[in-house]
Symmetry: C4
Subunit: 379 residues, 4 copies
């Protein structure tokens, strides 16, 4: 019982990786802004020079990033392998194309536009693109089907409109490629209005194309959204599974119950000094700490809880408002168990309710004694 | 058995809170209309004066609202805490900015536009915004991923179009910011038509951007809609759970069954004097009264049912049309159990069917005797 | 075994109700077309007269419809009650407004535009509108929340754009109502292009409004689509439940199994002489006949199956292609049990598989004998 | 144990059917491009001749395709039946209309536009259109309801706008058909901007129509997307079921477990020489080979696995990174079992985990001995 929760603390000090990432984003933002500014007309020559300097600085930063990553360390030459992974490719694309284009004689204004590839660095950080790639691979068949339907409507619609309007508006629907352009803008419901049918037949076809557009769009959207949601659910399951394994008393549940619980939990990432629950508010969920640390603001002195601990269970067990404010003291990942899931789960697995109650009771006992600590993790 | 259902009655008299809320909405509407009217050109000076008077009156109303809420009552000074909660912040935003702007020398026409912040009062009443905030917090990862994909398509598309069109339409695609504007209107499928590509390459890129727009939109819509629906389901579960606890004979079911039933029930809020079921219509659901009161129009005299009672079960049990018209006599919240769920539920938990049948039978007995009351709640 | 399936036949003769409905649709179509044509300029006076005659004829038809329905029959005066039901109201709206408007001195061209109310007759026939009404009632809270979010974005966006653009484009964003119009067209991603921001600040706000538009739209679409799908599922369950009760050997299954099966079945309505399954094609489902009649084209003479019978089970049991072509001989409603559901179901409830096999075997035996009949319904 | 996995190999050599299909796509692409090019103005007469030659060649190719398919083979005359199937109809539509139109005196430019029907060949290859047809048949009721709502909003909206705007903009809203055109472009949120309301009443109506457009669109999209997803799931189930039957040790599971597993598995089609898993990467799923062949790159020599085998289970069982890179050596279809499903499944059916572990252990043993083969399929 002498173990303080501070022992459980991980990553409390301001993280260097976070600062480095912020720096990278700042460089990215400055670089893209400079790239956009340099294309504007009527710039002062001085401003122009400064913008170019800025762009060169960004390029140098990204080049340095790449060099650091591929630099042979610990006697290994294998680091060049990095260039052939996804992030390595993106890092290379951020550095090489611009000098190559400049050397190849491309005008500076055009060459610097390749700086837009810097944006791909965002894709390497966020899990979105790899997920999207997987969704597209798994849903290739239905997406392909919808694409074919899209193409058929597109071509038949543009042929029909070409026939209906070529006499009346030869400058807009005179050739099939022009008519195809109209069909694309209409089928996606963008509707620029630069080419608009004026004959009765043309408008009838256009109406049908628009309604088909809604249908095609609906199919497309539904398939992508379903696939994306399913992928995220699977990925979360794997993460939650690993986190659940760290909470000691959950390990004692039987495997089916753990599976079920893992499906119910939802992850939330919080920055430092975020208020998680506020005293006196109604409580509708309890929290398990997967990573990070929180401070429970109770008297006589605040209690710190680290990874593996839980809080917020009193509001669930007693249906009372929150009894204390809880604030993160480090960037934290929490697992949320909603009251609806808690009740559904404990109805079928009363052992969790017992375990939570026991832990809560022992915590209350500890609080009453002067040792303001929480230690399910060594129970 | 002497207990009359009127004893169960809650909130039968026209509610003051409702009237106050309606007044608030009226003031809000008048204020916003005056704010819009005052910006129109060619107003008579007299009209202008009246509109300004109207705006001042609205401001005074909202100021009074705020003062009443923070005024120290019962010797407590703690009421100023209210200013730091969500609704308090909204109330403050509705009152302070306009006088501050006027004092700071902002022209009156511009200062009164801050009255648009009054609209946030709606957000404080409806549960929508807090829900949306929670959905965004929970789905931050996938939404962030989609945002990054959106940004990448946006920037790459606008760079490509800038390159393709800058020679031909320098006034529309001559700089990257102009090209970005085009990309935003196209990627969201808004398509104003103020900037439209005319080269073949430009149109090809535009077509791809539009189709990506559909995909991005689909992902975005799907994630938000799923998250919103899930949040609502959870919130409803908690509400229904509390309401189910008030219906006496449901309490006797075993916990798993209660969980299941809670998931099946759907809430509906009805105004006073609404017809819930009409005699002779086919019946496809039964109702539990969570709050409020209804009147069952049977002979010899109508029966009133209050919170905790149920009705409409005869149509389900016997497959017959509704035997009586039921009308709310107060603003009521009902829980609906559909016939499909009723049958599915009773197939697995025959005890509910028995309980309902017993209660229905005893009620029929009571009806036959002269005591026109329903009293499961004290059974 | 002497019962022929023709005994089970219902509604084999061309239905009068169907013909009457078709007539009503034709009158509706002609009426709406005439209404549209009469508004066109440059019509010959003769054509005009003919169109008006046509409109009067349609009005007379609808008036006759109404009179027939409210005409006292069988000595009852209660028929006027019909006027206060939904369909009665629609019928009245189709007849009365036009003569009233003409008598009130409204010009004929405008009065006849009230003929657009005839279209509501479609709503009375199809179950769509009542469903939609119910969905809106049940999902009123989330839809209301989204509406409030929509309004807040709308007003704040239009105020911001008014401030940003009123100096530069006073004729488009000079007053708040004008700016609101822009905001509506943008937030719904319609984008007419009649009012387009040109300042940097205006375009930034516009971009945010567009992206919010996608979000709002996604929420709206998701809530409506989910609610509509759920409502349809419930309604189908009730219908299927009643139909399942007609299939004799399904009645012997235990209640939980019947519930499950009812959820799996899918209804399909087929016109007369439609090919349901074609000999030699792979079979992926079996069919139960809920209403109508089909003809199984087997040697030596075709077999007719009526309501309560099933077919297509051989392909499922043996994994072989369809052994005979089946054609509807009357408008029929079939219940489809997919192979995936059949296998999932029979894995958990082997009794259905046994029942189907037994029935199939007895049918095969009957086929081999000369009695070309199917008679599970009297087994 | 002497059986080498090469014995299991199917379809390793480059497939002729694939090459033929590619040729067909190439002809299709060339034909459509020529069809589009021939409509452009200002073509050289020489180019024109070449394009026409190209079109004739494509037509000849498709005619040859058709002739080959209907040519009497093996003494059967029944091949003409092919013309009355779906694909036969599409093949006929690709060949006959153009010569018929030319013979009927239609100008060549117009006649060749019928070449757009060639695109339907894509529909015959991909499963999309038949699926879509089935979805539309099954969801006919809700889709019909939404269509009626769409029509009602369309007509009422256009009548209202006609009344509001006919005085002010007679050239745009002067007649009902013109007003209908506006309503279609608005309700689908296309918004060309060729007809825009300018009166206050007109804009109010337009705003309502746009918001209804979002709702209608949402319903439409939701119904189609749900139906399409459900259809795909069913079709996949049937395919997976057949594939699961080929994996020997899965056959020993009890039927309920097989159903459940079949639902969890996801198909993925991979081209030849695709990297399936890469050594050292974290493993989040295991693979069953349904068709094709893969090569596991282990020492001392790579192992080939054919249909019925599985791999990737070590990463799941031990939570370690992938121990070897696996590459397809032929176009393959794999069934993926995600770690989340694997854990959920083995928690309830420990026999699968045992079977996988046993097979994995025996494989490890085989690897340690010099026989670098995998042979669960004859275990």
């Amino acid at each position: 019982m002498s173990l303080h929760v501070d022992d459980l603390l991980t990553g409390h000090r301001p993280s260097r990786a976070g600062a480095y990432r912020l720096l990278q984003y700042a460089v990215l933002l400055v670089g893209l802004a400079a790239m956009a500014a340099v294309t504007m007309r009527g710039l002062q020559p001085g401003t122009r020079t400064w913008l170019h300097l800025c762009l060169w600085a960004c390029l140098a930063f990204f080049a340095a990033q790449l060099v650091i990553k591929v630099w042979p360390r610990g006697g290994a030459v294998g680091q060049t392998n990095y260039l052939f992974t996804g992030p390595g490719l993106i890092d290379t694309l951020a550095v090489l194309p611009i000098p190559i284009a400049l050397l190849a004689g491309v005008p500076a204004d055009t060459a610097w536009l390749l700086g837009s590839l810097w944006l791909l660095k965002l894709a390497a950080v966020l899990p979105g693109l790899s997920l999207l790639g997987r969704v597209i691979a798994l849903e290739a068949r239905p997406l392909g089907s919808v694409l074919v339907i899209f193409l058929i409507v597109l071509v038949l619609g543009s042929v029909a409109l070409h026939v209906a309007e070529r006499e009346v508006q030869p400058e807009r629907f005179g050739s099939l490629p022009q008519s195809l352009w109209w069909a694309v803008t209409t089928l996606t419901t963008t509707g620029y209005g630069d080419a608009v049918p004026i004959t009765f037949a043309g408008r009838l076809v256009a109406g049908i194309v628009m309604i088909c557009g809604l249908g095609v769009f609906g199919l497309w959207a539904g398939i992508l959204a379903n696939g994306f949601a399913a992928e995220h659910r699977r990925r979360d399951f794997v993460r939650n599974w690993n986190l659940v394994a760290r909470v000691p008393f959950l390990r004692e549940l039987d495997p089916t119950a753990v599976i079920e619980l893992t499906r119910m939990l939802r992850r939330i990432d919080l920055a430092e000094r975020t208020v998680v629950v506020r005293r006196g508010r109604p409580g509708d969920c309890m929290y398990f700490i997967a990573e990070g640390e929180v401070e429970v603001q109770v008297e006589p002195q605040p209690v710190r809880l680290g990874a593996g601990a839980f809080f917020g269970e009193i509001a669930l067990l007693e249906g009372a408002p929150r009894t204390a404010t809880v604030i993160t003291t480090a960037p934290s990942t929490l697992l949320i168990l909603e009251v609806s899931d808690f009740r559904a789960f404990t109805a079928m697995h009363p052992d969790l309710a017992l375990a939570v109650e026991k832990a809560a009771a022992s915590r209350a006992g500890i609080k009453k004694s002067s040792a303001a600590t929480n230690d399910q993790s060594d129970a």
